[in-house]
Amino acid sequence: MKSVAVTGLGVVSPFGTGVKAFWEGISSGSCAIRPITLIDTEGFRCRIAAEVPAGIAGSGRRSRADRMALAAAREALDDAGIARAERADAALIVGAVGGGMLETEAWYWQRTRAGAAPMPRALTSCFPSSHADVVGSALGLGGPRETIVTACSSGAGSLALAADLVADGVVPLAIAGGVDALTRICFMGFNALKLLDPVPCRPFDRERRGMSLGEGAAFVVLEDPQRAKSRRARIYGELAGYGMTGDAFHVTAPHPEGEGMARAMRAALEQGGVAPAAVGYVNAHGTATLQNDRIEARAMRAVFGEGRVLVSSTKSMIGHTMAAAGALEAVATVLTLLNELVPPTARLENLDPEIGFDCVPHAAREVAFEHAISNSFGFGGQNVTLLFRRAA
């Protein structure tokens, strides 16, 4: 794959709306994981998550996830300076899982428990494909439109597909990202799986007890580098390659040796023509489950060698934002390279000796790199690694 330029960023995160709030939050090691307000958590073992604060733009008739997607996509297009006329050929790729499930659940509960006959409007936006419909129609995006659903790697997969469309010359530019709102089914399901830590998650810590959920949306504008240069666009960095693999191992557990994860990382490096030694930082999947962190570390060791790269987990600050995670963390990785500042892993007190990498505890670190990768691994072993190069 030819490299593609990243020329626009947009974010709605648990730190609020906007890329600025997101970067300030994660680069200062702040924690946005708090008691849940959106849904009733009475009786559950874990009762916290990283919610997006009030004030998301858009009509309340839209689903929460649609509003987050719309706000983030709008910011990215405005940031890139893509005028209405240029959007006619632009591709839109969205990573999604929950769709409008939060509102659908509320509708169903009202109908079955309260005996009321609520307005069925909520159901029009229940599918994951709703986000692409809403964003595409509202922002006038007329090119190819796809929704990627690969659990927790959906957001990263969307960037990979969009990069192909641009690199292959199918479209001059694409907007790609991911979105997920907190939902009851996700919260209760992960509680039932005993994968949620009752206190804010602690990736890579030997005391870690599971993940924290989060929500949000992020979009990036990907563009042919020549096109970006000729219109004098601001280039944040380049998406230089990606790797996508499947474990074909288990419905939830990753392969114990991280074989599929390692293949995804190697494939990304190979596609970008980048040697492992040229990569300085890994924005890890880093969910803080016992299994993921240990196995991801094993896979990183196989690819980069013992302790050879800096590693941190954005999820320590914004939780696991599901289908948005790969996109939010892609933005974090691009900004890490650009600002020469590695966001930390918050609350990392005692590094699990099995990890074996410097996981940048507590405070951000000033370091400049040419390349960094972002890992996203979905349930069922759906692995995506994105490789980014610093802007020339």
């Binding site: 009509s59 309340g60 008739r61 839209r62 307005m119 409007r121 029009t124």
Partner: protein
């Protein structure tokens, strides 16, 4: 905002969000009715009304509570313009 200005905005919404032919929008009057099946109406169906309600909330910054019966307000451009004008006047 005056009811007349609201009416003009509604015509714009009809073209940009509900994809009505601009020529059709020109012919609209305050008396034109909205719901499909009503005499002389522009024929909005239930999905059109959802899109229209979203557009109104985002354009005028008001929240229309579904707990109340909104149907009388969405009868014609006259009723809807007056309703929105009264809601924005209080803002």
């Amino acid at each position: 905002m005056e009811a007349k200005e609201v009416f003009d905005e509604l015509k714009t919404i009809l073209v940009t969000r509900l994809k009505f032919d601009p020529r059709q929008a020109v012919d609209l009057t305050l008396e034109t009715t909205m719901p499909k099946g009503v005499d002389g109406s522009i024929g909005l169906d239930s999905l059109d009304f959802i899109e229209l309600a979203i557009a109104i909330e985002e354009r005028f910054g008001i929240v229309m509570d579904e707990a109340g019966d909104l149907a009388p307000h969405f009868a014609s451009f006259d009723t809807l313009s007056r309703y929105i004008a009264s809601r924005t006047a209080g803002a």
